[in-house]
Amino acid sequence: MPRYLSMIRIDEQNAPAEGPSDALMERMGELIEEMTKAGVLLDTSGLKPTAEGTRVRWEGGEMSVTDGPFTEAKEVVGGYAMLQAKDMAEAVEWTKRFLQIHEAHWTVTCEVREIVEG
């Protein structure tokens, strides 16, 4: 039963300014509980905005450090979930359920990737 990392990408420029509604947070809480009870959810968290992030880059033997915000990025990782599921289809089904609880004015992309074991 492989593990999957779902990288939750949002467009920070156009995300709802007021953040997640109370109703969304409540649905999120219920879904997290359900996924935990199903033994699927291993870990999940949101990330602080990229404005507070730092990029450390190694290129051509040189190190560079850049503080956010990173203007050129359209969609950035705003959170993650680590799932344990039987296969990609199962991980995608749970990911759909996570997206479905958002209101229609949200644009969210989840990139689901299998974790290399061993």
Binding site: A38, G39, Q84, K86, D87, A89, E93
Partner: protein, 432 residues
Amino acid sequence: MTPEPSEPSADAPARAIETVFRIESPRIIAGVARIVRDVGIAEELAQDALVAALEQWPREGVPDNPGAWLMATAKHRAIDLVRRRERYARKLAEMGRNLEAAAPHGHVDEPADPDDIDDDLLRLVFTACHPVLSAEARIGLTLRLLGGLTTVEIARAYLVPEATVAQRIVRAKRTLAAKSVAFEVPYGPEREARLGSVLEVIYLIFNEGYAATAGDDLLRPALCEDALRLARVLAELMPKEPEVHGLVALLEIQASRSAARTGPSGEPVLLKDQQRSRWNRLLIRRGFAALARAETVSTGAMSTGGVPGPYVLQAAIAACHAHAHTYEETDWARIATLYGLLAARAPSPVVELNRAVAVSMADGPEAGLAIVDALAAEPALRGYHLLPSVRGDLLERVGRVEEAREEFERAASLTRNERERGLLLERARSAH
């Protein structure tokens, strides 16, 4: 899991439906079993709901809440079945079942109350692990109904023919029906023993994956993960039971070592030689958290004389290893103490053997050897390859090389695992 060959995309909707069904099936079977009071019939009705979905969804679209749709469909069929049975029963002038008691509260189309689903799942767990069934039957039924494995997958995991597994499961369902096993969670005096049976089933599944008793691979990780998932689910269903959290902690920490337990060509790597950087930190952290939960709930619960249960103790031992960044840092004195508590709480020759190892590390090989020699005549360990393997190791450490060599050879002749045999023969050759 070996990946299935990819289907042509025309089957995509069907595959998506099957995925939803696989996720939901334990809950559906549990919900339906409460109505029909028979896990075999419940499983058939759940399958009927899947067939209905495969017919309707591609035509009419996937419902907003596919899980609730499947549940409602299966429950409708269950209620119809009970009604038909009742009519039949009345015709036979027998006492009919009181349908009101069996029907779910409220309207069937509404999403079920999560608490009701949890209760139903718990009933399913206790029924599948009922002591009237053999250990093999319990394992098969649990993997099938709660783990959502197909008989093919179970057969592959246990290296037995599929027909054997299928038959085992059919017989198990028949036995439950024939013995009129109630679809309920036990309370009162039998509860602890029945919970013990559930924990044992999950532990046996994990162990079969962790220390494959037969075949060429040392590990069958899929089974470990199935067991771990079952344990995690159970911990959420029974959050007040310290031993359930103890089992979760034990399995999380054991599983954290999976990647380090085999070398490049699949040979086993002993704990002391494992590259600890390859231990999975997330699983270790989860294991520690589960152990902490066990301790939290046991302070509030009625505990047997303050001594933790066997799973909590084993988890505490596993946690000692996980806390040590190098083998040399291992707190063997604490591990020996914990094995002492375990030997008092749940005495077994295997525990005693492990205690001997810990004592030999804490107080020297002579002290360990004294415990092992006392086990030599233990009938339960006759044919158990780890006894001569441990004894060989201790003899080698006290400089009795010839005897050590004989013990390693004896151990090699007893193990059924090819990988392990190679390792033991190597130790016999290199004993010095």
